[in-house]
């Protein structure tokens, strides 16, 4: 496998990974993120590796759960098995979830909530279906292959990409995977092949912050961790005052005026330091 720089910067050498693993106690592991009851593509071992990768990207700590506990692996498996449903579970329907009420006539939250319409999925058009078939199953799993295989080479489907990438990363282990602790196994993320690693990173980020109906962001925990209140519809954030016709803010979540809630997580020196460094890289200015 490549040891060149990856998307996240300089990657450790294979030797370093082996050293790290070797220094860790070979404790028994507990499976995590295996609560999905839907169709499965990933094996238990693959789910465990992806659990470790998800937590490498977004680890559990004293502020809250990591990506795995928030459903990252279920999210990924749901995408990989999307075509085992009819319609394929690619585009949730909408327009509303059941997390917010309709507005009352005076703009305040009413007691009426819509059903969660994101639990249904939209049919794919013929062309959309062809694209997703190719994305998930690749040229090898698509009758006739991809349209540009002769020019660009075959499309590697996401299912194969992840399976093969995980297998390659497991090959770097110096001891049986079931003897490596969950926390120590997180280092395997840096040993995924570049293309698989990039996809895992993207999928984990998507799982953290997309609608919970897709299988990640469990109980909106991904949103809560970054102090995001979640989707706002159909209530929204402003309303027209029926008495005056003027547009009004919701007092708890203003659009027009300044924030009414205290900052839940002010920037500390380390965060500001990162902005300072990025500003320098981009050739910008620090004003104070």
């Amino acid at each position: 496998m490549s040891e060149a720089s990856g998307a996240g910067g300089v990657r450790p050498s294979r030797r370093l990974f082996l050293q790290v693993l070797g220094a860790l106690p070979a404790t028994a592991w507990l499976s995590a993120g295996c609560s999905s009851s839907g169709p499965r593509y990933l094996t238990d071992t693959e789910r465990r590796v992806l659990t470790a990768c998800a937590d490498a990207i977004y680890p559990p700590d004293d502020t809250g759960p990591g990506a795995a506990e928030l459903g990252a692996v279920d999210f990924i498996d749901a995408l990989l098995t999307a075509f085992e449903h009819d319609p394929p579970r690619i585009h949730a329907a909408g327009p509303f979830s059941d997390r917010n009420p309709y507005a009352a006539a005076d703009g305040s939250p009413s007691s009426r909530f819509p059903p969660d319409q994101f639990l249904e999925y939209l049919p794919l058009s013929r062309v959309q279906r062809a694209g997703w078939q190719l994305r998930l199953y690749g040229s090898r799993g698509t009758p006739g292959g991809g349209p540009n295989d002769a020019v660009l080479g075959p499309v590697i489907g996401l299912r194969d990409l992840l399976r093969d990438g995980i297998a390659q990363a497991i090959e770097t282990l110096t001891m049986p995977i079931d003897q490596i602790s969950d926390e120590a196994l997180r280092a395997i993320y840096d040993f995924l092949p570049d293309d698989a690693r990039a996809q895992v990173e993207l999928l984990v980020l998507q799982s953290l912050f997309s609608l919970p109906e897709y299988g990640g962001n469990r109980n909106s925990g991904g949103w809560r961790l970054i102090h995001f209140a979640g989707d706002s519809m159909p209530l929204g954030y402003t309303y027209i005052d029926p008495a005056t016709g003027a547009i009004r803010d919701r007092p708890d979540a203003p659009v027009i005026g300044p924030e009414t809630q205290p900052d839940p997580d002010p920037m500390d020196d380390e965060t500001i330091g990162l902005f300072r460094a990025a500003t320098a890289v981009l050739g910008g200015k620090a004003f104070y």
């Binding site: 990207i57 990591g66 058009s125 013929r126 519809m233 460094a277």
Partner: protein
Amino acid sequence: MSAVSPRILGKTSLDAFDALVIGSGASGGAVADLLTRHGQKVLVLEAGPNYFPDIDQPAAATAPGSVGQALPLFGNDELKLSHRYQIAPDPLAEPRTLRHTIADGDRLVVGDVANFAKTVGGGATHADLKTPRFIPDDFRLATVLGADPLGDGSNFADWPVQYDALEPFYLYTERLMGVQGAAGVDPNAGPRSGPYPMPPGAAMYVAPRAQVGLAKLGYTLFPCPTAINSVPYDDRPACNDCGFCQGSPCAINAKGTPGVTTLRKALLTGNCQLRPETRAVRLRVDGAGTTITGVEAILPDGSRATFTADRYFLAANPIEDVRLLALSGGGQPLGNSSGLIGRHLMLHHGVNVLGVFEDQLHGHRGRGSTHAFTEFRVPSNRSQPVGGIVVVTTVPYLIQQAQTYLGQFGPLGLKGALFKKFLRQARPRDRLLSLNMYGEDAPHPANTADLDPAIRDVDGIPVARLTYQPHRYELAAEQFYVPKMIDIVGAAGARFGAQAPNGDPPGAGHLMGTLRFGSDPATSVCRPDGRFHDIGNLYGTGASLFPTSSGFNPTLTITMLATYVAASALFPGDPARALT
């Protein structure tokens, strides 16, 4: 779910048409609206799916939370809209290719290139629909600036129709789309013959924050005209500022997109038929090559059919219009005696400066951007480059935020627990104020759209290729204005200010040019009324016709110009008659 089945919409019994429109977006909807108002029978072919249930049914205010029209199948869902190609073409199924110059070989990039929505309602569906008018000088830039003001090979041309003649069409279009705005607040705007249909809506908090800096430096911030309801209008509700507007369709129809305005009105006349998921792949032409005789299309089930009409209007977009013409001519575009089809592709030169603030800006509430200033776009002021309108905005979306931070800060060591903390503390929706300039993209003959020689879509059809790079004109404006934009965010109280890296191509989500219109068949593709010089019953419509791109968001002008073309087809020499 029947709501998005590719059923034929509108007057399904029609089988003879006065006009066939290819594309149902800003241009196609406008053409269909104007023609059907005057009794013309119109067929609209749309390559993408439909997410507007009952778009062809009269309003019935039944669903809670809706006003009048049935709610669309969108919602505040970043995943399906920005990452799973609900409305944009899937680059695996329908790729485009890019190279910067012909010296790059056949292509540098395959996939997601200037990807634009392909759905009922077109690209206007996901636009946040800022709708400033172009200014009078925008229609005569060759006169104001010269054909090649910086000697970089640009090829400016005056429009064959000027602001005064188009002003009634602007007013008509603003009423049609439902534009909020205030007359007299933009010091550089052109004259108006009537008021905006509705007042400005809620100002996002970033607007007064930016105003602090702008006022110190002498710039005038104003509420940007926007086709989003600030009050209930036209059977659609007022916007409730849900915060999901930037690049996303509206979940409640407050945004005046074609699916809920022009196209819907056309369908409700009983004179229009709309066929979603129907891909036009070839224009059939008579033996002389001067008359279109039909359009061959791939139907939703993959079979093919040919549709006919008296007149044909190209309204896909400036890239797909060229693709269809090239496919129809066996690689060489139909109607190309000028040799200019595909040339002068313009994207707008997007320039983005970010200011980092330490307090909470809550940019995830509101329409994405509500205010703008125009001092960087005054073509008659020769002491400064010609830039574009600058809008004040934020970075509202979560997956996008996380990706951006990892991409930008990953090389600085951001990962794991530090990344997790950074997302909590450096919340872009709270910390980042963004100034986006839609810089004028000069028309350059080397910036082109044509067919890629080898890359195909899933139907085996050659895809479009862009050959595009910015030139001195755009880069000089960027170099001149970026320091000023950084100073603005600093004066507004930002701790840091920097330019975000440009994309490739460095566009702003706008496509223009490729079928420029004008009086001289040697220097233009279409006539001043939009008709092709070479083909008597074929019309270009909106953005494709633009000889120059201006420096303003183009959707209002696209819709307006398509209306003008349709009106000119009905009333040659007196198109304003169509508005009465």
